[in-house]
Symmetry: C2
Subunit: 348 residues, 2 copies
DNA sequence: ACCGGTACCGATACCGGTATTGATACCAGT
DNA sequence: ACTGGTATCAATACCGGTATCGGTACCGGT
């Protein structure tokens, strides 16, 4: 393979200096129209495309925005990534994604790696990074935006909402429709801190009314390895299990919509009326629950918008460079009770 | 914020030369144990993390594998990305993702951009790139793996399966269970070439039996803007529409599982027996159809494995550097007929 | 004819690492 | 004592761009 074309090749082909070629290609000023054409033509002819390493090394500047998410399996995060991509479209900036698998160690390594790329900004999922990771972010010297959670102390900017509040709020809303015997279904709560916060928020709301979960399943107490199942399938099984143990529940709160949807599948298969016999509540407002409109109560989170806002926050911080920006963007989820809302006279 | 730490700082702190520091940090040989410790210690103390630009520029070598997918909204592609990430874990290589939104122009730009990063390899979704893009890939001088489709001429290596064959095969399988009046529901076929290939494969199988689709809906003939809907919701509406126009269908083929699941939701809501009154067939074998086991026939594609195999192919090509590698990996989807299989083999 | 201003261009010095080469010290073998 | 080999380190020359700054040419004004 012949060696790659460099700027010097372009310059030679165009009969100008490297510097002029560089300026012409970047649309910098101080180049005559004639030379611009000549250089661009030459570049096209020899099939030249720049070398970001050399460019970024020399200019001490990149167009990269690092985006760190915990998972790709949960559709929520690709949607956030979509939002970021969206908001960055048309700007000079470009997202680079990293996945942590909900593992703090991997997260730390991923961030270190990203920083070695000297990104212009960083978007990180979650707010509860371990101290060492926080320090890394603090010292990074670039705009940092933490997303999806605001229950805690952000390193810098923050876009998201309170999960404990979200859990609390939907518990209250459900309670007000007259429901009293609540069950809970979740999994991976040890890893998914935000799901755990929702559960805890839900519980605290129950406590305020002198209630508690009448039944809890989080997957750890089951013989099957629920982590191997798809989320929907897992929800189906855990719901079956919970209802067998506690047939008198009138509402089940799931750690997310996928599980809740699995629960709905179980109920439909078993002829259990939803929400008549038992109400189901999930979290996120995913597209899949629209298959059975109104059956599942949920908190609709604005994933895409959070991604977009995070990206916009970075952009603004970069432009105004000032520290005087809006540091906190709360994008509170909207509660949707579905059929529960109409079965009760209560105003929403 | 003081200027970033460089290798020179580390070297100074450790009392050695830049070169020794470099070798020590990279685990290169020719460094005494004492100095290795000293340098690593110094690096940790002053919070040093390398500069990939300088490193890659100097060594003419990167650890990047570019991965280009058309979309993040379709869970299938994040799963492929997961597979790639997985297979690369433990190696020195690292994936970088790009999204094209099914737009050839964006794809070309994304690839150009990736190439300016001199990646060690490239994984590209699809096989039908326009000539200019193909040329770009050919001249890239790095291992290229095209994935998800083998109906065409790969630039180099290829991991996936034939979509037209997949459509053909499931049509045959459905036909053999006795189904005769087929309908089709899809959307975005102009963009999603692979879905179009499946439809065409399905049609050709029907033709072989003297049949044709008795009804086709692809969303373009509907008043509502189906692109704005979630896939499941869209499937629900299009199915409703199709069945209103053609109530006598005994099977509907959907362009994917999301739409098919929407169809199932419609049927359940309307009390239509599946697969008794009408059978439904989708594509992919997504987790969500496990919510109603056996209700939807599908072709289970090995997304994650395709991602893994693609990554492995790159790794091997890089190692053996030889051109004599297995260039084609066919990962044929497995047909799952669900309840249809039972009603055919042994009637209850 | 002289001067200041503007448009354009190129030589030079890096950016922060790594490959390469050469130097030094020390040791075993003869 | 001398030679060759090994282990360890440092100096130097880049990698392929870009920032900087100092020219040159040409213009209008006086």
């Amino acid at each position: 393979m012949k060696s790659r074309k460099t700027l010097a090749d372009v310059a030679a082909a165009a009969g100008v200096s490297k510097m002029t070629a560089s300026r012409a290609l970047r649309g910098d000023k101080d180049v005559s129209q004639a030379n611009i054409e000549r250089v661009k033509q030459a570049a096209r002819e020899i099939g030249y495309y720049g070398n970001q390493f050399a460019s970024s090394l020399s200019s001490k500047h990149t167009d990269l925005i690092g985006v760190v998410v915990p998972s790709l399996s949960n559709i929520v995060f690709p949607q956030v990534m979509s939002g970021v991509t969206n908001a960055l479209k048309g700007t000079l900036l470009q997202p680079v994604f990293g996945v942590t698998d909900y593992d703090p160690e991997t997260e730390y390594e991923t961030l270190r790696n990203m920083l070695s790329w000297r990104p212009a900004g960083l978007i990180v999922t979650g707010i509860d990074q371990p101290p060492e990771t926080r320090q890394l972010l603090k010292d990074a010297g670039v705009p940092i935006v933490q997303i999806m959670d605001i229950d805690g102390h952000p390193v810098d900017a923050c876009v998201g909402f309170s999960h404990s509040e979200a859990g609390h709020d939907i518990a209250v809303a459900l309670f007000e429709t007259g429901l009293r015997r609540f069950g809970y279904v979740g999994r991976n709560l040890d890893k998914d801190l935000r799901a755990a916060k929702r559960k805890q928020g839900f519980q605290s709301a129950l406590r305020e009314h002198g209630l508690a979960f009448a039944g809890i399943i989080d997957g750890s107490d089951l013989p099957v390895d629920v982590t191997a199942l798809s989320a929907v399938d897992c929800g189906r099984r855990l719901t079956a299990d919970l209802l067998k143990r506690q047939p008198d529940l009138d509402c089940i709160y799931f750690s997310n919509d996928d599980l809740a949807f699995g629960g709905l599948c179980h109920c439909i298969a078993e002829g259990i009326d939803v929400p008549g016999d038992v109400a189901l509540a999930g979290f996120n407002g995913l597209g899949l629950i629209e298959g059975f409109p109104g059956k599942i109560a949920t908190s609709r989170t604005a994933r895409k918008q959070i991604g977009e806002q995070a990206a916009r926050t970075i952009l603004e911080t970069l432009e105004h460079s000032a520290a005087e920006m809006e540091k906190l963007h709360i994008m509170k989820p909207e509660i949707s009770l579905g059929e529960l809302a109409v079965t009760n006279d209560k105003p929403d």
